[in-house]
Symmetry: C2
Subunit: 328 residues, 2 copies
């Protein structure tokens, strides 16, 4: 019989039903790569993006020209943006009966992770991936320090199945200015050190452990929503990814890359998302947060059941998923 | 500038960002149809499914043989099921610290909506679709009346983009026995008549109206999560779909079919979900519920932003979506 498992951090229910993994399938989705001759993220095409916000580049090179290794640019098609100078009345937001509207204020950036037209992050070396993580950290830290934003999320869409629309390796950062919680806030569930469910995982989740290093741990959560879902956490109760010390970023890059290599080998697909969950910027006492990276493989499409009930069906138990990932 | 809109019923935030509709795309997903020669849902292949629970069939025909028009069978690969006779201790469920597990008790049924190998519900006539709705209603009513289940959902996955794995026209019903709310419960938001946000929609949402009939209304919600998302509601504040009178089911079939025809013509795709939201079975006073059907077009994949924040990005404003649907 299947099991209903509750994830106290995402506050979502998951039906673990392994028997469904065997069901027949005559409709499948396939990834199709269209024209990439004019990829705006390739080195030499810098004019195809807005001017860079940050770049790791060789000392002799100049901004918005060749010679970079990792490059951050504003999204040309942003989900949120700066207030327009001629702000109309609606851009102030309003609340009336059951209608609530806020202006879409924030920044939406693209982190281009290689000057070459690579399509999966596992094609990067550990050293290159460590530079990518450094850029994630530095952009989050700069946006937080500006005092203008309430919270931010860094995420990667890998493969068409992961919702990527451009093949060239990149991640995204969306920071919001909002006077209330727009992003589903995990703070209430991620309690203070000593009572934190992620800290408890470190002690108890050996059955679902994927791999670990001196400062980090990778495991399949007890109530994984997706087959082979894996979370990476610092072993110490730390609220903010953007405060990670430079010395341990290469260790994190090695671990995250190793998990993604295991995942791609196990499921024969690079369709996944990863998301960096860090404490909201606007909390002064964020000790109740434990930052983490969620890796969500996208082997099948979310369907009416998930969208109708908010509950997930997972056809691979986290225990079997962790064992398979450990073996690769 | 984009807008952040809040949906009080789903309690989700949506970023309406029309500028993102123009972004380039070199990665796309395509639906692929594999072998359908042995479709278990086609007439004449009745032995490919478990025995039928209900069927509309010609009087001279026999159960689990040819001669049916709509057929309901248990899912061969169910997400939830009956308690096994040799239930082990884990099947009783347990709660310890942050771990909560319940047995996956319930039923998971397939409603096969045509004996022919049709692949979109708009290929049915209004009369045929009315029979399908009658079967949805009668199965929900029977499961509720059995007193064994706490709540149920009927949903359709259309197209690979909508999460369908078998092409032959079908919907699904999942009913649970659980002592707590597993399905995200909309009851708190759907208040009593006079104070109900869906009732208020009937008066105020003319800009987002798609079409209406004597007893029903179709509109794009103010905070639509998906481009061209459309909801259908009874104009009267009624909590339970399964109590819909037989006389008005053909009217509902005509309206729902008309909206799906408009949608397929507007977006040139039959990738969508629809979900019937009815009051939980186990509420005695359900006057705070207003049943509704949500139609969720699946033109792009949900990605890291949605899965990381619980917030959606919609590139077509509901006002423009409704205008386009009205025009088709």
């Amino acid at each position: 019989m299947s099991e209903l498992r509750h994830n106290p951090i995402t506050r979502q229910w998951v039906i673990v039903a392994e028997n469904r993994g065997a069901r027949p399938q005559d409709l499948v989705v396939q990834q199709v790569i269209q024209d990439t001759a004019h990829c705006p993220f390739c080195e030499g095409h810098e004019e195809g993006t807005p001017g860079e916000v940050l770049a790791l580049r060789s000392p002799e090179s100049r901004a918005n020209e060749c010679g970079w290794r990792v490059r951050v640019v504003p999204n040309k098609y942003p989900a949120v943006g700066a207030a327009s100078p001629q702000a109309d009345s609606s851009s102030a937001g309003f609340e009336r009966d059951d209608i609530t509207v806020l202006p879409g204020l924030g920044v939406h950036e693209i982190i281009i992770e290689s000057p070459r037209h690579l399509t999966t992050v596992t094609q990067l070396s550990v050293a290159q991936f460590a530079e990518v993580l450094t850029v994630y950290r530095d952009r989050l830290a700069a946006l937080r320090n500006s005092g203008q934003f309430s919270n931010a999320v860094v995420f990667k869409n890998s493969g068409a199945g992961g919702g990527a629309t451009l093949a060239h390796l990149h991640s995204q950062l969306v920071a919001l200015c909002a006077d209330r919680s727009i992003y589903a806030d995990r703070s209430p569930a991620l309690r203070e050190s000593g009572d934190c469910p992620l800290c408890a995982t470190i002690e108890t989740d050996s059955q679902r452990l994927v791999t670990k290093s001196e400062h980090f741990l990778a495991f399949c959560p007890f109530a994984s929503r997706f087959a082979y879902e894996t979370w990476i956490i610092p072993r110490q109760h730390l609220p903010r990814f953007e405060e990670t010390a430079s010395e341990i970023l290469p260790e994190l890059a090695r671990l995250l890359r190793a998990v993604l290599v295991k995942l791609e080998a196990t499921v024969k697909s690079s369709a996944y998302n990863y998301i960096i969950h860090t404490a909201p910027f606007d909390t002064t006492g964020a000790n109740h947060y434990h930052w983490h990276i969620e890796i969500l493989p996208r082997l099948s499409n979310l369907a009416g059941f998930e969208l109708g009930t908010g509950c997930f069906i997972n056809t691979v138990s986290p225990e079997h998923a962790a064992a398979a990932l450990r073996d690769h």
